[in-house]
Symmetry: C2
Subunit: 221 residues, 2 copies
């Protein structure tokens, strides 16, 4: 009995496999964009990609793993946004952060929405992981509050960590509403900005407080 034969052509095959995989994923993404999340069935993907269902299983694994893959890219892009350094007073920093997120979602609203829905269903957005977008977002809002205190914008009567978490909550709630189709990106933005302003207002030093009050009035007029 000889040694097991060494696999030949492994590299080429791996490259091709990856290409086929990407093609199927692209089809899956397009289906979500065109027909919505609930139409993303294996049969639909198979038809669109010109393969059979078992091929999809073979290349991408279980259906939940298709979601995983779809989400992966989204998480990466979101991660980039979340690693930007905040600048200016807390309101400006929060606004910049928010605007970047909205702008990102606008590039492909349906797909991002679907990815979030899928991520929630499959518990993809590991809330406990320090690497996850959850932790990163929270860290960002908290950092802005901490800096805001250092630079005299906030009193610190309310701990920056607490304030940051509350503001992060505004983001989460608005995103939920958006994901579930109750509001659009425009309202998403407004809703978060209002909540953020009020929360900052609760701990703002006098001068900054004026600015926030003006902002709040402007939004709610």
């Amino acid at each position: 009995m000889s040694l097991a034969p060494i696999a030949r052509g492994a590299k080429t095959r791996a490259i091709n496999k990856s290409k086929r995989r990407d093609h199927i994923l692209a089809c899956a993404g397009q289906i979500v964009i065109d027909k919505g999340y609930e139409c993303l069935t294996l049969a639909e993907i198979a038809k669109s990609a010109g393969v059979t269902i078992p091929t999809i299983h073979n290349l991408l694994g279980k259906k939940s793993q298709i979601f995983d893959s779809l989400i992966e890219e989204m998480v990466t892009r979101l991660g980039i946004v979340l690693s930007h350094q905040p600048k200016g007073d807390p309101l400006l920093a929060m606004e910049a952060f928010l605007n970047e997120i909205i702008a990102l979602f606008q590039t492909n609203e349906a797909l991002y929405k679907a990815a979030f829905i899928a991520g929630e269903k499959t518990n993809q957005f590991d809330r406990t992981s320090q690497q996850g977008i959850f932790a990163k977002s929270l860290k960002l809002t908290t950092t802005i509050c901490t800096d805001g205190q250092k630079n005299g914008y906030l009193h610190g009567h309310i701990k920056p960590a607490v304030l940051g978490q509350q503001i992060f909550g505004c983001h989460r709630l608005a995103r939920q509403d958006w994901m579930q189709g109750h509001i659009g990106l425009q309202a998403y933005q407004t809703q978060v900005l209002l909540g953020t302003s009020i929360l900052l207002y609760s701990d703002a030093a006098s001068e900054f407080r004026q600015r926030l009050n003006k902002k709040i009035k402007e939004i709610t007029k």
Copy 2:
């Protein structure tokens, strides 16, 4: 050709039908309590109720309608809580409101949780209806803020309607987290209370502000 025959025994039948219906619903509820939401299949209900699947369809309609029925009672009870009149300063009123909700959910946590999940999936909690728990909750938090302003607890720099909505948001977000199993009822309560206190703090008059600050410190210590 004579007249169509008049249905006989209609009343008795209706009563019995209702009983059978209730029995099946009770079984469905028990399944949710015992085995969780995802185990609530027609086959499971049928087995537990000692009937066949088509019988369930006959008595309760489509599966989504089973949820509707399960939710109905919950919404009624929640509606009762939501129609209680708030008393005392805004913090006390908000606390009373919150405590009633938590106490209610504690009576059968699994079932309430399942009902909320189902309600969200099937869009049961008509967000637009003035009769819905959504509108009622929002109205309650807003009323507390309005009263708080009248009685000098709040400045009114932030419109009571806006503040009420933000506080309502705290409830929604915490409930989401609870529904999705990320936090328990205890944390639910704490989270809402903290958010509420901070939001009230943002517009609180001097004396009340002290009280809120103490509360916030107490929760976040």
